[in-house]
């Protein structure tokens, strides 16, 4: 997510629909007709913003006549996913937005439905994880942090999002990569980005682990030091920050968001949807939205995405077991 939203009290399909009806609808020639996108989260969060941005881009470029966004919040997206899998079988006009957090939530919540039951279309955007320490911290580099972690993993407290989420998984992967038992990491979960950031700024924890975007502004103001990022190469937002791999930690992870279609659609229907989303991702409207929201373009569709998805799911199952969150 671009920033972590404290779980908004769950909310509102009715209101969403009422307001969606006010939105201007694109007209005339369209490749697909009506589209219904389920955002399995409350309005305002990352998945909701992704769904509404898709709505904006699809309609602006007349790739679809009428796009509706429905919010089905709850349980890391698994409630929306269950409703989608059970309610839209074979429906070529139904889409759902999801992301890496859902992969973990399906495992920890023992969700009855999983991502193998939907038809993945494309990965849309992604964010990279970063480790930050307070400006006054004695830890100057990722190597210092690794040394502290090896000395006593319990003494290194990590502030991040909810247990089993991307932040926790990343911390577990780091520990594993440097040869520390992942069950021994001292991970402190916070429900809101603001609260966890405050605990780092106030020097209450050793380090913070979260999306890079949460730390950039603080680092520019000299209040935080970003030690490393989880991308393959250095990132334009923070070119001076080394990657995990440069720092000798063999971890690369992306908190991605994707769009998937209903189970049981035909190959032709799947191809049409993929083509529509491909066009949307290439459109100027979509590119402008990505730039405005600071979302990295990590677009990937077709078989390449499916292979990546399968790889991510398998790796997540392993690491969640290793940090002790699932059996």
């Amino acid at each position: 997510m671009a920033f972590r939203v404290r779980p908004l009290s769950r909310r509102s399909t009715l209101a969403a629909l009422a307001l969606a009806a006010v939105l201007p609808f694109g007209a005339a020639q369209a490749q697909v007709g009506d589209l219904r996108i389920i955002a399995p989260a409350a309005p305002g969060g990352g998945w909701d913003q992704t769904a509404r941005s898709m709505q904006q881009a699809l309609q602006a470029d007349k790739l679809a006549t009428n796009v509706q966004v429905m919010n089905v919040p709850g349980a890391g997206g698994t409630i929306g996913l269950a409703q989608f899998v059970n309610g839209s079988k074979g429906d070529p006009n139904a889409l759902i937005v999801g992301g890496y957090v859902m992969v973990g939530a399906i495992i920890t919540n023992k969700s009855p439905v999983d991502l193998s039951q939907v038809t993945p279309i494309a990965r849309l955007t992604g964010e990279y994880e970063a480790i930050a320490v307070p400006a006054a911290s004695p830890l100057k580099t990722a190597a210092d942090l690794v040394a502290a972690l090896k000395a006593d993993p319990q003494k290194v407290s990590w502030a991040g999002g909810s247990a089993g989420g991307t932040d926790h998984i990343t911390a577990g992967l780091i520990a594993k990569a440097v040869g520390v038992d992942p069950t021994r990491i001292n991970y402190i979960a916070f429900s809101g980005g603001g609260e966890s950031l405050a605990s780092i700024l106030g020097g209450k924890v050793t380090a913070g682990i979260s999306s890079l975007s949460e730390y950039v502004a603080q680092a520019k103001a000299g209040k935080l030091r970003i030690l490393a990022v989880s991308s393959a190469g250095r990132l334009p937002e923070a070119p001076e920050v080394p990657t995990f791999k440069e720092s000798g930690i063999d971890v690369e992870i992306q908190n991605w968001r994707m769009v998937a279609a209903a189970p049981g659609i035909t190959d032709v229907q799947k191809a049409t949807l993929t083509e529509t989303i491909d066009k949307m991702a290439a459109s100027k409207t979509w590119q402008d939205i990505l730039a405005a929201k600071g979302w990295a373009n990590t677009y990937l569709s077709g078989p390449a995405f499916q292979a990546q998805l399968a790889k991510d799911i398998a790796a997540t199952q392993v690491i969640l077991k290793e940090v002790g969150l699932s059996q």
Binding site: N109, S157, N186
Partner: protein, 503 residues
Amino acid sequence: MESFAALAQGVMVALQPANLLFAFVGVMLGTAVGVLPGIGPALTVALLLPITFKLDPAGSLIMFAGIYYGGMYGGSTASILLNTPGESSSIVTALEGNKMARAGRGGPALATAAIGSFVAGTIATLGLALIAPTVVDIAISFGPEDYFALMVLAFCTVSAAFGSSVTRGLTSLFIGLTLGLIGIDLQSGQARLSFGIPDLLDGVEVTTLAVALFAIGETLSVAAAGARADEIIEPVKGSVFMNREDWKRSWKPWLRGTVLGFPIGAMPAGGAEIPTFLSYALEKRLCRKPEEFGNGAIEGVAGPEAANNAAAAGVLVPLLTLGLPTSATAAIMLAGFQQYGLNPGPLLFATAPDLVWGLIASLFIANAMLLILNLPLVGIWVRLLAIPRPWLYAGILVFATLGTLGANPSLVELGMLVAFGLLGYVLRRYDYPIAPVVVGLILGPLAEQQLRRALAISVGDPLTLFQSPVALVLLALAALALFGPLLFKLITGHRAPVGADED
């Protein structure tokens, strides 16, 4: 002073006719969603974001500020008149406010809420403009052990403040604490008391519980009493507006509520609910007629209402000075800033001063606008109570269900609404207080998380809870609240004359 010049500049921005119109639309929308339980300012702003994308940034942020403050006003109106808290921070308002409304004093209750909100909102916004950087440094220095001590203080003062008997109050509190355990545990990611129902994984929503216990429970009680009920609701008895005594009893609670609300709202884990609980407990202690508490004491409306509005301004302190969103609405407003390419953070005051000061100025204007809109409406609002009882309660029932299910259309949610409504009826029937159940649901999970964070950071050393000066002071206050009356009795041989002392 530099800040004043910048603020004056901001007022000029906010007073432009177009921006005034945005502020007006905002406060109207905000009041409407504030009245509806379940649908709050955060949701409204989130849904408006894509629509306002093409509008001028100053205008839409000003509108969001109006929605934000308007929500606080609307929440108290529903609490007072319908006993249906529209927002979780106006739950306490329902306790005394609704009692007042039934006694024909709905007018003064609404007026003290509106004026108190205005006074607190204005003082707190002034605080935001002038001392935000100082306040935020203190707020950030609060660690989990300090928050835990704050929660202990809240538990100790609040459990004594509700209901006639401590045992009954604690029973209700523990029901709430138990309900607070439902759902995924944040620290371990494991589900607790969810019985395999996926909808329970996110826990019980505060507004669902509050609406069910207050509105539905009450409706059931009234229906069960049937013709035997002899209570006649008089919409207006005496003056529709506040009389001299009401003013005299209101102004101190307004100020005390502000002093509690602003700093706690500014704390990253503070929120707007805790100051309302503390304010209620404090006013009950200080009131010269404590026996009126529970029967419609105006202090119990004035203090908490001031506290929740001051907290609403407090929440903006970390958002504007550090870019830390500490409530759902703040998080959405942050998304609003980002939409216009502004990156809130420690540098926002330096990089976009026009906008920040325009926003602060528009908070003043929204506040004034709400007062001007709301006061004349008081006379009309109280007429709601003249509706014949069967219709009124049927209306409340529809309204409560619509609000809650509108926010989350699920069968489980409906089931919870009915089950908690029945619980509310049973508690009323056997004279158990309702409010501590909601207090437990709000405070329990907060206290638990902070305690566990503190202990995890110290690797299990319980002494960490007593090593911070802030925590020690708060714990001492809690001990005083708990044992103070007892000690007083032991020393003097008399029962403590609760509230006899002047502040």
